[in-house]
Each structure stands twice: as C-alpha cells, then as structure tokens.
C-alpha cells in the first residue's frame, strides 16, 4: 500500500515524469561535460594494443611493468592483449576510424602497410639503436619505411626446426643436418622407422609460411626482383625448391600436413607423431609442463643451408605510434623505457626463447645462457628475412603471403601437379598481385 501511495501520492506530484527526465538529462550532461574536461586536462594515459602471447607469463610481466611505469612516471599505461589473428582487424579499424590505442604492435610488415597512420619515430629508434649496439637486418626491415622509422623493432618470435634427438640418433644423426639435401636423406630414414617429419602445408599463416619461405630462399628462389616490381618466381632455382619439397612430402611426410593449421604441428610433436617440424620454442615450453620426458629428447636447429645460403622467416614485431594519439610524447618515452635492458631482459627472460630481441645487444642476453638448447634460437634473428625478399617488405609481398601463393605452390606439387605447372600458377597469381602496386 505504501508503495502505491508513493507512486500516485505526494512524491508523484513532486517528481513528475517530465521533471525526472529533466533532472536525469541534466545530470548526464553534467557528468559527460566533466569527463570531457578531465580527458582534456588530466594525467596522460597510454593504451597499447598487442597480441596475446601463447605464454601468459610474458603478458603478466608486461602488465606488471605497466603498473610500475604508472607508479614511477604518473602516466596511466594499459596493455590490451588480443588474439594474434584479430590484430589485423583491430588495427584496420583503428586506422580507418582514426581512434583507438596510442601504441600499436606492428605485426611483420604492419609498419609498411600502415605507414601513413603512424608517426615518425626515427628519433627514439636511432637513439635506442645507438644504445643497444644497432638493429639487426630484420629489425630494420620491419621498422624502416624508406628512410623513416615508423616502428621501433620490438621482438621476434623465432621459428626454427624442432626435432627429436633420440630418433635422429637412431638413424645415425648425432647432429641435425646442415643442408637441405642431408635433411631429405635423414627424413626418409626417419619415416622408414615410423617417425615421419612434418612441415605445415595447410593454411597455417605462421608455421606454413615460416617453414616454406626459408626453403624457397635457400634454393635461390625469389618472388620478385630487388626492385620489388618484376615478378621473378619462374626460375630454375624455384623449380629445385619445388622438387625438393615434393620429394620430402612423398618420402618422409604423411598427407596430414596439407591440413595443418598453426597448432597442428605442436599437437603432432607432443603426441610423438612427428620427429621433425618447423616451430617456435612453444613446443619446448609446452613440454616443460606436460611432457618433461619429451623435453629431454627435444632440441632446436637452424634452418638448413641451401645453394643460396641459410634463411629464416619469423614474425617480427614493432611498436608504432598512431598519428591520432594525443599522447605521442608520452608514448615515445614509454617505448624507450620498455626497451631498456632492465625491462626488456625481464620480459624475454620469462619467455625462455619464445621471443628474441631485434637489437644486437640482446643477442648476449642472460636468457640464452639459461639452457644450451636455446643457443640456436639466439642466432635466428640474423638469418630472418621478410616476404618479398630481396626487395623490402611491401603491400604486394604481404598480399602474396596472406594468399598463401608460395605455400600453395608447394602444396600443389605435393598433390601431384608438375613443377612447371605449379610455378606457372604462382607466377600468374604474383603478377596479378604485383600489378596492383
């Protein structure tokens, strides 16, 4: 009864619907205005969009460091971690809408694709370069757009060969083969013993591309010439790489690899279904917790050498600052702080090989002395190149990668297409892509 009285009685007259709406609207406006004023004048804040590391501990370290920075410098810093496959979409949305995080993780060629949306960070990239004994080739490849630094090289997820030492010993190999020809011989022996090898040939944006660009380059293949315009994939060198890949598939792999995504090889290796695969240190990490007995017999090797040398392709990340950011100065200061040995070593130290530095200084980081099996990973950055090599990273090279032009060229050969035919298809696809540039 009391309630009814309140509705229709005195309170009802004092606070009519119109009055209520008026008061609410006024309060909302006042609050919004307050927020607006605060956002213009208050303490600076920084938002950083980055990938969610497969190793949570590394993200936790970054969160802790952000808190510490806020405490020390009074600048609010917040990391937003998202799935690696969502990073392009989120970046695209920020670039298009002109709103979003202040700092973005440029993924591989991200700084080249979004260079107009990013500010010039040459001042901090150059001073950090001087301080940290210079940048590696791959660091320069991803950060420098023309002559301007658009991203500070941050780190690389080193992809190498992960293999079973016990099974390789069983077929007479104490050391991992150093050439692709030797690898083929050993792989056949391994399969004959019931231990096939496996390199992803499905739509594994990471492992598929990262296993096949190194093979392609090592045999002397190139998508385009150094000018970045003339398609040059149709060559005897490419044919040799395709023939080698087909033989590996027929003699030493199972058909599964054609469907492998980025996590398939981890699962296969941990299930002891493959003896050799191309991967980051994530398998070794997973074994630490779930299969210590396998960790004992797992080791890493550099990609073998081919007639044209030794190459690798791993995802390298940079930190870029959006043009629309209101806290560009603070962003530069934070990136410089984050790259200092105290913070950086703590971060890669937790990763134990999951991330390697792009500055030469970090080649001697204490993390590499933690475990002799990480020694190989330490060396990877110096062999890494980006799609499009020998030309600098570009939009056509990125498009060719996301369209799996190279991986599909190898996959078609493995499914039975002739070498000339599969290269011709890849050549046509590349010509279509490069013609748009």
């Amino acid at each position: 009864m009391g309630q009814r009285k309140t509705r229709s009685g005195e309170t009802g007259r004092n606070l009519s619907r119109r009055k209520f709406l008026g008061v609410t609207a006024g309060a909302t406006a006042a609050l919004s205005f307050g927020t607006f004023i605060r956002s213009g004048q208050g303490a600076a804040s920084l938002k950083i969009l980055t990938w969610s590391n497969t190793l949570n501990a590394m993200d936790d370290t970054l969160r802790e460091q952000a808190k510490q920075y806020t405490k020390e410098k009074g600048v609010d810093v917040a990391f937003e971690f998202i799935n690696q496959t969502d990073l392009p979409t989120k970046t695209a949305a920020a670039v298009e809408s002109g709103a979003g995080p202040d700092i973005i993780t440029t993924w591989s060629d991200g700084a080249h694709l979004h260079d107009k949306a990013l500010i010039d960070v040459s001042d901090i990239a150059e001073s950090l370069g001087k301080q940290l004994k210079g940048w590696t080739n791959i660091g320069q490849d991803i950060g420098l757009v023309g002559k301007v630094w658009k991203a500070v090289p941050w780190g690389i997820i080193p992809i190498c060969v992960t293999y079973r030492t016990d099974w390789c010993k069983e077929v007479g190999y104490e050391k991992f083969p150093d050439t692709y020809d030797d690898l083929l011989v050993m792989s056949k022996k391994l399969k004959d013993k019931g231990h096939p090898v496996g390199f992803a040939l499905g739509r594994a944006i990471g492992d598929g591309n990262q296993s096949h660009y190194p093979i392609f380059w090592a045999f002397g293949g190139m998508e385009a010439k150094k000018d970045g315009k003339t398609v040059a994939i149709n060559s005897p060198e490419t044919a040799k790489a395709v023939d080698w890949r087909r033989r590996l598939f027929k003699e030493a792999e199972t058909e599964d690899v054609l469907s492998w995504d980025d996590s398939s090889n981890n699962r296969a290796f941990l299930a002891e279904a493959v003896s050799v695969t191309g991967n980051a240190a994530s398998i070794y990490w997973a074994e630490k917790k779930n299969a210590p007995q396998l960790r004992e017999v797992t080791n890493h090797a550099l990609w073998p050498q081919g007639p044209a040398g030794r190459f690798g392709y791993s995802t390298a990340m940079g930190l870029g600052i959006f043009r629309f950011s209101k806290s560009q100065k603070e962003a530069k200061e934070f990136i410089t702080w984050l790259m200092q040995p105290k913070q950086y070593s703590a971060w890669i130290g937790v990763g134990e090989g999951q991330i390697a530095g792009l500055a030469n200084f970090y080649e001697d980081d204490p993390v590499w002395k933690k475990d002799p099996k990480l020694e190989v990973i330490r060396q990877i950055p110096k062999y890494v190149r980006m799609p499009g090599y020998p030309a600098p990273p570009s939009r056509p090279a990125a498009e060719a990668m996301v369209k799996y032009v190279l991986v599909n060229m190898f996959a078609r050969a493995c499914k039975g297409m002739s070498t000339a035919e599969t290269i011709k298809i890849a050549e046509n696809e590349l010509k279509e892509i490069y013609a748009k540039a």
Partner: protein, 305 residues
C-alpha cells in the same frame, strides 16, 4: 463509417496535410527511432561499403574513385574466379541438402513419435549453440591426427585408411558442406514443420477417400502448400550461405590450396590482412546485384502466391 469518411477526406487533401493531424505526427514520431536505427546500422554501412568498393582505397589512405575498376579487375583474378566457383558449389550443395533433409525431418517430426516435443527441442541444438564453438568441435572431429570420425569409421571397418578431411581439396569442401548442413538443418526443419502444421487435415482425409497413396498426398497436397515456406527459407539460407564466414574460416581458412576459399574469407584476407579495402569490399559486394534480382523475383512470386 466514420473511418471511411476519414480516409476519403485525407485522400482529397494534398499529402502534406496528413502531417497536420496530431495522430499522424505521433505515428511518425513513434517509428522514427526504428527508422533512425535502420539508417545508422544498415543503410549507412551498406552505402559506405558500396562507395568503398568503387575506389582503390587501401587502409589509412583516401583512395581514388575508379568506377567499376575493382570489379573488372576481379574478373581477371584467377583466385577470385576460383572463389566464385567455390562459393556456388558450397551454397548450392548446402541449400539443396538442407532443403531435402529439412523436408524429411519435418515430415518425421510431424508424426506421432514418442517424446515429440523433446525431440523437436533437441533438433534445434545445432542452431542454438554459437557457431564458432560448435565449429571448433567439428575442427577437432576432423583433426588430421585425432579425428574421432576417422577413428569410428576405421573401427567399423568402413574405411581402410584415414580420410584427410581438411587436408584434401575435395574432402575439405565436403567437410565444410557437412558442417554447414548440420548447422542450418534445424532452421529448415522447424520452418517446414510450422508450414506442415498449417495444412488442413481435411485435405488429407479427402485424398484418402479418393484412394490417394502417401506419396501422391505428399506430391499433390503437402509440397504445393509448403511451397511458399520453402521459397522463403531457401531465399534466406541462400543469402546467409553466400555470406557465410565462420564455418569456413575456422575449419579451413579457405584452404587447402584455396579449395574452400569463399567470398567472405577472401574479402577478409584481402581487405583486413592485406589492407586493400576497396578490393575487399568489391569481393563481398560482387554478388549483390545478382542476389538483389533473385530477392525481388522471389518476393514478387511470394506476393502472387
């Protein structure tokens, strides 16, 4: 009578005068939020996408207006032509299968079976569960190493070696078709069931009196009366399947060797990963004119019915 007079008087005046009537004004006022939402959430993004598809825009840059340049270029793109083919194979097969199985399932559910309501509810499960979650389960079921489907088929002696579900171009297409059919079937079955329940019982009784067998009853009574429902469901499903993204993206990413690349997955790769949003928009809008014609024809047909 009063209302007739009202309508006549409104018609006699110029149309603007309708706005003077307070109740008409209230009417427009009341539908304005809906119109506003339609404009902001549907019309604006659509018009923007059409505009972008007519430019050579790349992410972060304004781009030039190039008329139908993107669409003409796509017609010469071998990967795109394969995508068009894949999209048609995917859509036609899944819609046909869903229609066929949907009719059968609806006829079964319309019978007096035990726990009928429970079964009808359970049938809806694939439609209710979030697609991304259920497709992840399918991904595990088709896994190259641990496929439970292969395990069962091998165990039952139906196959002698593992089927490369997602590893072979043909099997990959079969896999995405199976999953799409599984996911969409409840919508078809339940819609058809609703249609079946509206068919008057007397028609069947009359047919029985005339000596028509079950198949003839189905052919001459059920099917013709179900036709409008089938038309609407097929129309919706065709549009949804042409625009499908999740199933293919999660299961195959368009692979292997582009065997399952469809409009939405290719548009995603080109627009968001490679940054060519003009071309990406053109890919996703490529079929719009054709679909529009189909929609208009279907709606006209339905109105006539």
């Amino acid at each position: 009578m009063a209302s007739t007079a009202n309508v006549e008087s409104t018609q006699a005046r110029p149309w603007l005068s309708r706005f003077r009537k307070p109740e008409a004004l209230t009417g427009y006022f009341l539908i304005s939020p809906a119109v506003f939402l339609m404009l902001v959430l549907l019309a604006y993004p659509f018009v923007l996408a059409v505009w972008i598809s007519l430019t050579d825009r790349v992410l972060g840059e304004p781009g030039k207006f190039i008329w139908l340049g993107n669409f003409l270029k796509l017609l010469q793109d071998s990967l795109f032509l394969q995508t068009v083919w894949n999209s048609f194979v995917y859509t036609i097969s899944t819609v046909f299968l869903k229609m066929l199985l949907g009719v059968i399932l609806a006829l079964l559910l319309n019978q007096d079976i035990p726990c009928r309501n429970l079964v009808r509810g359970l049938i809806l499960m694939p439609w209710i569960v979030p697609t991304s979650l259920s497709v992840l389960t399918w991904l595990w079921m088709f896994d190259s190493l641990f496929s439970v489907v292969n395990y069962i088929l091998l165990g039952a002696g139906l196959i002698s070696k593992k089927v490369p579900w997602l590893g072979d171009p043909l099997w990959a297409m079969v896999s995405v078709i199976i999953v799409n059919t599984w996911r969409g079937l409840p919508f078809f079955a339940v819609s058809f069931l609703a249609g079946l329940m509206t068919i008057p019982r007397e028609l069947y009784e009359a047919a029985e009196v005339d000596g028509a067998l079950r198949f003839r009853q189905f052919w001459h009574i059920t099917l013709p009366l179900l036709q409008p429902v089938i038309a609407v469901v097929v129309l919706f499903s065709t549009i949804w399947t042409f625009a499908d993204f999740q199933i293919v993206y999660i299961l195959t990413h368009g692979g292997p060797i582009n065997a399952t690349q469809i409009f939405a997955t290719m548009a995603y790769d080109v627009a968001l990963v490679a940054g060519r949003i003009g071309e990406g928009s053109a890919i996703s809008l490529f079929l719009f004119p054709a679909l529009l014609v189909v929609i208009i024809l279907m709606l006209k047909y339905l109105r006539r019915e």
